[in-house]
Symmetry: C2
Amino acid sequence: MVHDFLFSVASDTSGVSDACVLRVGLIGTGVVGTGTSLVLARNAALIAQRAGRPIKLVMAAARNLSKAAQVVGPDVVVVKDPWILVRHPEVDVVVEVMGGVGLAKDLVLEAIAQGKHVVTANKALLAEYGSEIFAAADARGVIVAYEAAVAVSIPIVKALREGLAANRIQEVVGIVNGTSNFILTKMEEEGMGFVAALRLATELGYAEADPSLDTKGIDAAHKTALLAAIAFGADVHFDQVHAQGIHALDPWDMVCARALGYRIKLLGVARQGDDAIEVRVHPALVPEKHWLAQVQGSMNGIWVNTDAAGPTFYFGAGAGSQTTASAVVADLIDVARQRAINLSSRVPHRSVSSGSIRSWPIMPIGQVASRHYLRFAMGGRLDLLSCLPRWLQKSGIKVQQSVFVQHPQDATQDSWVVLTPSLAGDVLVDKLTVLKRKVKDLEPAAVWRVEDLNLS
Amino acid sequence: MVHDFLFSVASDTSGVSDACVLRVGLIGTGVVGTGTSLVLARNAALIAQRAGRPIKLVMAAARNLSKAAQVVGPDVVVVKDPWILVRHPEVDVVVEVMGGVGLAKDLVLEAIAQGKHVVTANKALLAEYGSEIFAAADARGVIVAYEAAVAVSIPIVKALREGLAANRIQEVVGIVNGTSNFILTKMEEEGMGFVAALRLATELGYAEADPSLDTKGIDAAHKTALLAAIAFGADVHFDQVHAQGIHALDPWDMVCARALGYRIKLLGVARQGDDAIEVRVHPALVPEKHWLAQVQGSMNGIWVNTDAAGPTFYFGAGAGSQTTASAVVADLIDVARQRAINLSSRVPHRSVSSGSIRSWPIMPIGQVASRHYLRFAMGGRLDLLSCLPRWLQKSGIKVQQSVFVQHPQDATQDSWVVLTPSLAGDVLVDKLTVLKRKVKDLEPAAVWRVEDLNLS
């Protein structure tokens, strides 16, 4: 059965001289597995031509055999036990799209040990066990490719590692979680609260049954850790990445931010500082004219700043069946051409001045400086407005820009919103403690960071 | 002198085990040559690490030897005769950034004949002689890489050929000429006429002394021909590409377009039709919320639609010294890794239905269907407004949307602007001829195409 395909593939790729087929084993026949099978079949001729040889799905592992057989068709061997697949001599490359970090990790490591290349869409796996997996792949001389792990329709991994390879990458700032961005868009456009917007996202299939990986910023943090590792050649330990989700965000803050010319987005930020790198995920104010502020709904967008190419921006779908398959199959084509580089080709970033190799620590979030947005709710006492600037001044909090925003329905929600100059998070916390002590329990109703991205 | 660099390179890339240097010969030490030399030197360690071996400029050819020596530094041999460079045994790869299609073509072909890889930023050369050059490179087994030929800071060639390689590409629509886009932005934002905006662009260094390649759409057509060749695997003859520039555009049309919710941009369109491909450059109305409408000033933006990944968008600088160098050096890194594919790996696109190989003709511009924008100047006779809809109806011109726009200063410029349903250019011309015959010499003051790009 496995052998039969050789003739059939050769017959419909008659333009390809070297018909040495790349044989693919697929672990997982859910949304992404289905898309991968479909794209490989539909664009087989095109893919064979671009890869220099046919790429053929020969085996699939899935719990539900009959459902899996429907997905992959009659020419593909379906097995229940994924260990058979990762050890099968007629599988050249394993596509892991089952998800999770337990069994998936063991299977990927076994595939590598068996000398098979691996293509994976599993950001959690790579963010948590990337060092181990890439070291194993390096030692065994096989490729682990993962374009599908970040912003699937956008070839951002390739752009960072190859397209911009001449550059010192200075920052990568992305909207990399479509579920959160869908929820934020609904909150902003329709004034929905977080819970209502999440319910809608779940009803429409944008959110998982357990959406906490998305809404708590964990998924975005996995992806941002990968982007930082690529951009800076850094060994980013996922547990060092600051992740703050969107669940505490009040839609009223989105209105107040707009009054200052900003939108609030869940950003993944990877930035090169002088002595450390920043790798963090949290909601932040983005200038409303910036490209990232225009990424709406479930789409993804990534802003990259570099020393030679300057700023570039990338936009596309961040999830979906065929969209993810596009990245998986691109990786398969690279594997077929033996063109992929491992993440392990990362080494510690070199500093500009000395040219020497050094390892960059990750800056603790409290030390990261940025402008901040503070919202003070009036609670119906407009007389406070005349005192607030003085109180802030006494607490050492400078005001760079401020605006009073009236709530359309509820006067107690009327707010004075302030942008501070750039200062470290810890410094702001200290100043706010002073404020709270000096002025009986006064504290802002909301505090968010501002990302002042270069607009040029 | 040429030999000396080996030690110096090896010493500052101590992390690289395989110090087999890729030796670069640079033809042209102008803006792009200077940037390339600078980026190769500044990021030498990073580049060596990413390329797997050092990349070293060893020779440069330029008319002005002393100026060139200043650009490339004392370790690089500078020659006046580029033929010495393309034939020199110690040059592995030739970077052609001299421009032009005469001598550059001969030098590139000689470099190929000598077994050297070529990296070029020369879109005119490839658009006009690509078939000959890629055939020669194929026969000799060398790489011709050209990321710098289109939208330099954006790795779009790599995105189309590798990142999106799993996809059937349906359309590529780009703003790929920064000079024109700068002029259009000034016309739109400040109401300048074309001539004044062009003068400003020249003063600020955005336009060449002879700007006609840019303003007449020739440069954009070169790039669009290349994009079409990559996207559709088509052999696009440059002289079949319809190119219309921006010189005839009235800023008043930009105001009228805005009244309908559109901006006017110079677009390069490469689109897969049922029986033919469209490859064309002309000003067109773009929905103002579309990404392409937001690309302002001298920047570039490219919209790509595909069958699996869906729509993606790319933005960045389209010209400049280090920005172009970013693409040139990325190509050098690919060459160093022997990872690049030649354009000649293109073959005629396969049709979806039959799976068979077929060649796609380029659709004549008159047969390309789109909605059209027609502007009728009132010439001070507002009474015409009541007759115009009837006259259009009698001539078979349907009106899908229309608006009357008053000129702020000049009542004779008051205009009735109309969007037609989609129809072929030739069909519209016929209908307008009928109109002109039926209603004494009535014709629109301006006719432009509308590109209704999928916004999702």
